[in-house]
Symmetry: C2
Subunit: 152 residues, 2 copies
């Protein structure tokens, strides 16, 4: 496993910015690393998973940690317009992926599309922006929700 090495690197990232490594931060990062590829969690879902073992990690810390890890680039913040954010491991080396979201049942399917990355760099560059993240989101009705009629 690269788990140990990763944590050491994270600790270094944190220290450099004046932050500290804590068991809570390590636990949360570990949860994301153990997640099946491409899974993303909301703060509430993460908090729920953390509760299982012992006392768990407080909701406030869960939120704080997610924001912190996202701010240093370890997590990616996703907003599916559902009213709450989701987070996933940033995994810089992996191909960035995008989402197809059902507006009825909120299931999200992810897909890759390399061309979107270059396009993003081009557009951001044209306006003098330093690009931080690209999110291409397709909203629609999944096959199942189409069947179940357009009722609301």
């Amino acid at each position: 496993m690269t788990a140990r090495a990763d944590m050491a690197r994270v600790q270094e990232d944190l220290r450099r910015r004046g932050y500290r490594m804590t068991p809570q931060r390590e636990t949360i990062l570990q949860v994301f690393q153990d997640l099946p590829d491409g899974t993303h969690l909301s703060a509430e879902e993460l908090h729920e998973r953390l509760k299982t073992s012992d006392g768990g990690i407080s909701l406030a810390t869960t939120y704080r940690t997610l924001k912190l890890l996202a701010s240093i680039g370890l997590l990616r913040e996703l907003d599916f317009a559902e009213g709450h954010k989701h987070y996933e491991l940033a995994a810089e080396q992996a191909a960035p992926h995008h989402h197809l979201i059902c507006v009825a049942c909120s299931q999200a399917i992810e897909f890759e599309q390399d061309s979107l990355h270059q396009l993003g760099l081009d557009v951001a560059g044209a306006y003098g922006f330093r690009l931080v993240d690209i999110q291409y989101k397709l909203y629609g009705l999944c096959p199942r929700c189409q069947e179940q009629g357009g009722r609301k």
Copy 2:
């Protein structure tokens, strides 16, 4: 102007779904039609504009109307991950546009990119989804916020 004709068409759209045309709905739609091209408003901003004249329109109705108009396709709901939604006229015939958002000051620049539309149709089709909206968002730091340093 096509204002009158548009309202009649809207009324028809509403009636067909069992809704009614009301002065509040007409006023709100008119505000969007009078907006400079590509401008978008949050519920709070819209409510503020409506207040000026007389009593205005209640905040609850403002929210309800935005959601209603978006649900029948007259408005497009935008989520810039700032914690509140924005709305703009859907303008089906106009070229869809996308946004470049500064993560520091939240300014949004819009741009067009036709290729994104076909790509969206292709991907949605591949998964059996009926496409409703496409949102391509680039998050980054605008030139001004880059200058002001990365401090938080």
